[in-house]
Symmetry: C2
Subunit: 199 residues, 2 copies
Amino acid sequence: MSELSSISRKEQIVEEAANLFRLKGYASATMRDLAAELGIEAASIYHHYKSKEELLEKICFDMADKFITNAKEVNDIYFNAEEKLRLSIKLHVELITENQNQSAVFLSEWRSLSEPKLSLFKQLRQQYENQFMIILKDGEKEDIFDHTDIKFAVLSILSTINFVNEWYKVDGKMNPAEIAEKLSNFILGGLRKKATLNR
Amino acid sequence: MSELSSISRKEQIVEEAANLFRLKGYASATMRDLAAELGIEAASIYHHYKSKEELLEKICFDMADKFITNAKEVNDIYFNAEEKLRLSIKLHVELITENQNQSAVFLSEWRSLSEPKLSLFKQLRQQYENQFMIILKDGEKEDIFDHTDIKFAVLSILSTINFVNEWYKVDGKMNPAEIAEKLSNFILGGLRKKATLNR
DNA sequence: ATTTTTGTCTAACAAACGTTAGTAAAATGA
DNA sequence: TCATTTTACTAACGTTTGTTAGACAAAAAT
């Protein structure tokens, strides 16, 4: 049982850390803040984690892992480019909405990582972005997407689907799947080749 | 001349502060960092500004002012909704690319403001967002935009055009006007009513 | 029953923080 | 030239920071 409750405590600390880092920013959130939220003393945290930055690292890299796993899942399924893009967006939105705190840290607080973890993290992010580029390139070949600056499009897409985390509320009108569909329509409307009659 | 050089020094401090706040985040950037960058001592800054937060406030509210001025300029010109949206996007992108540091602070570091300035700032942001909502509503009436969740669309648009600040480089391939046009096309493609034959 | 492990505590540390006080130098105006 | 204003300096302050050391209690394992 010590094993189980230990894991649970460790996870509890990380979850509260993510919440706090999101709320106040990594630099402004103190170990005493975190401890208070957990009902313990700051020193006690060091029994579970060896530094404040280790908490940040865990959150950032765990999320990076999940995003990349999603991307691989998409490419394992042999759909056309449009379906791949729609699935990518759906998984992305679901991951974000199901882990809002950790996602916020992954999306904005990673800048506080110090080398060499910082470079490693950037590399993983790049890896994920590349998956989207591949999908868009495929779509261009399949002639279902407009010819466009691929990198430009990927960044625009990601910025849009990442921003979900800043307005999504669990008790809101739309559920994640609906949000993903709306976003996909919005984005694809901008990508899909129009009938020649209007412009 | 004392007047002039005083203003210039004051501006120099704010500009370097914006650069530093963007680079390290407000909380992580120290007054000693800022002083070192200026070639003076930390205490000397307090002759020009009474606190660190005053610097943040100046950057945030100066930029808010500029964004809102832009929005008013757009509404003073009586174009149709599509032209209004295109102009809004253009002015937005130009403002961002011409003030990358201050824009980054305006976009992300405002969370470090403390009350009551924080509430005031949020109010100004809301004011700016509302201008976009009005344009989209007009476009719906004029029947040139698809019927869509207006708030959803505005947030998607803003997230996309704000994200420009994270990848734009002054020496890059595209100039601000070109970026604005591409973004407008991308966004409008998603908004504009399609010919009925494709979906 | 006793040892070991686990989780927490109190106390304190050195370093870094924003900021203030008082002083000196440099620029400006008479 | 002298007085005034502007700008910077040195030195230090009181806090807050992340973190460590060592003790103590509870739980688990032997």
